[in-house]
Symmetry: C2
Subunit: 332 residues, 2 copies
DNA sequence: GAAAAATATGTTAGCGCTGTCATTCGACCT
DNA sequence: AGGTCGAATGACAGCGCTAACATATTTTTC
């Protein structure tokens, strides 16, 4: 192991060229004679030179970071968004820098501050429900800002997602069209999860149009989970005589399905189940879950792709609607 | 928006102190008079100063990054490891820098190179199955290196995990103890997933000790999934008359369970099912899955905690065994 | 009450790289 | 021959910060 890490200067000396030439070879920028390039490559190899991006970032005042703030890693939804982001960034020199806010706006703000210290060239954040400070920081950062998932709210720059309220509304329409009238809701602790609340509001609005309202609703404490769904459904059934249960998401809905299985409840005939997200697991159960596909991977991929395509923040804000799709399934 | 971003110098000027004093206030280092601190804080606030970590990293030649390389974001396993890492890092100034290798050793090597360019103070990587170059880079980086998940192989520095071979072996012992003798295996494409292969080998070894061998085995193409398990189990059953099926992981095993449900196969009496990982979903199905709990969250948390506790690479390598636990369940 | 120790602040010199502006040199014109 | 152009390379300054050392000021110690 060399006593001290080799720098550009060392490489330049060994290759018999100036530092800037090495820099150009490393970054593949500017015209370099083939012969020179080879010599420099050789020297890099020989020394085991690793460029120092901190120095590069400082000198060019342009990092290759894209700050990413996601609310949770507790289920597969946001890892899928993240996968989409990585996919969209593949082949580019950009590197995501991830923070997880745990659905906490204050924490999001802290994370944003610390991400901004790395001079990211863009920020991707899930949702548009920020503190005032967060919103100001995003605006003033001057870099591209992509708000993911939901299209409601006042965009800072680019928004990629769809209307959760509309998705909730359409879920309600779907159930009504299928003839269900006594509808219950199983939610989770949503003070933080604004998108869940929007879907809920959309659902309620759809029911109201038909002169209906929710027959009952129950909420688990804490985050959603399969177990949570299995535990809450019996409580919902105890609270009211319903013919359909809408779950905040597929995790919970699958749990509900399991409860039906165990309790001998005939799904669909006796009780319809409806989820949200279109997770793999929901489609893998014996009766594919009726739910809404939310194209999470695509949302991440598009966000990343748009940043690469247009690295400077444009004057106009824009909304990219990735849509959603009711999955008919077999449970509603 | 100010024409140019404020720097330390601007803050120092406004507060009427030297730059280093501001630097100390920002980093909370060294003795600062309360009055000075307040003035500096005020100036920072007034200017909306955001420190430039690239400059800080360069000047101190110590970044606050921890490079993390995980093989996949396709199921919840590695997001859980990542959660553990974030948890272990909470309250520290360190920031994970994530790369996803897709179980590709070459890609891991590329990711490592690019992560090293950020002068991380540590590298966390899942597994010990690296290319020679990767191994050399890890060694020569001089920073702390934590290899996660599996304890087999030749450690670079610290290893946190357990023996997958042993876990496979114990799974086999468990099934044998329960009286199963005609055992089949449902795997996935494991050229890349070395840990899956180790478990498989352990399982085969346990059977061999009893003079048994696998009655049959099938493998899905591509990554494991619930759907994959549901599709492959019937093929396994067609290939041999078995009384127990071991799945490469819980995703696949849950799929197998769903197949049994749909095909009217009495789980356990007619056919035992055994998984690996101890995922939430496996424990949420009507018959909790018999499987192995792998403490993924803990693995990540401990890795991060150890790095913070001892940021310099010690002379000796070390292995932290996080153990595993057979979950009795109801399916085997 | 002088020395020693602790506290609070400043000065200086880079960290390793890249942007900008030259400079060199041959090819290609007219 | 003189001029123009593009390709290839270099000199130099500086990005924004912090380590290391230096200096002032106060407090403690015996």
């Amino acid at each position: 192991m060399p006593p001290t890490k080799p720098t550009l200067t060392d490489v330049a000396r060994l290759a018999g060229v100036s530092e800037i030439t090495v820099s150009r070879v490393v970054r593949g920028k500017g015209p370099i004679a083939e012969e020179t390039r080879r010599r420099v490559r050789g020297a890099i190899e020989a020394l085991g030179y690793v460029p120092n991006r901190a120095a590069g970032t400082l000198a060019s005042s342009a990092s290759l970071f894209i700050g990413v703030i996601l609310p949770s890693m507790h289920n597969i939804v946001f890892p899928e968004v993240l996968r989409g982001i990585y996919e969209g960034l593949a082949g580019s020199p950009y590197q995501p820098l991830l923070g997880v806010s745990e659905y906490d706006r204050e924490k999001e703000q802290e994370i944003l501050s610390s991400l901004l210290a790395w001079q990211p060239m863009a920020i991707i954040t899930a949702g548009s429900d920020h503190t005032d400070v967060t919103r100001r920081l995003l605006r003033e950062s001057g870099v591209r800002v992509v708000e993911l998932m939901d299209t409601e709210g006042d965009p800072v720059d680019l928004v990629v997602g769809f209307s959760h309220r509309q998705a909730g509304y359409d879920s309600g329409r779907h159930l009504i069209a299928k003839g269900y009238r006594r509808i219950g809701y199983v939610g989770h602790d949503w003070v933080a999860d604004r998108r869940a609340r929007l879907r809920y509001e959309g659902l309620v609005a759809a029911l109201a149009e038909e002169g209906l309202s929710l027959a009952a609703e129950v909420h688990v404490d804490g985050p959603s989970s399969v177990t949570g769904g299995a535990e809450m459904l019996p409580r919902l059934l105890a609270a009211a005589d319903i013919d359909a249960a809408v779950f905040v998401n597929d995790d919970m809905a699958v749990g509900g399905y399991f409860h039906c299985l165990a309790a001998g409840i005939a799904v669909k005939e006796e009780l319809a189940l409806f989820g949200f997200n279109g997770l793999d697991i929901g489609q893998a159960i014996p009766m594919p879950l009726s739910t809404v596909r939310s194209n999470r991977f695509e949302i991440g991929r598009i966000a990343a792709g748009r940043i690469i395509a247009e690295p400077r923040r444009p004057a106009e804000t824009e909304v990219v609607n990735t849509g959603y799709e009711i999955i008919e399934g077999a449970t509603a």
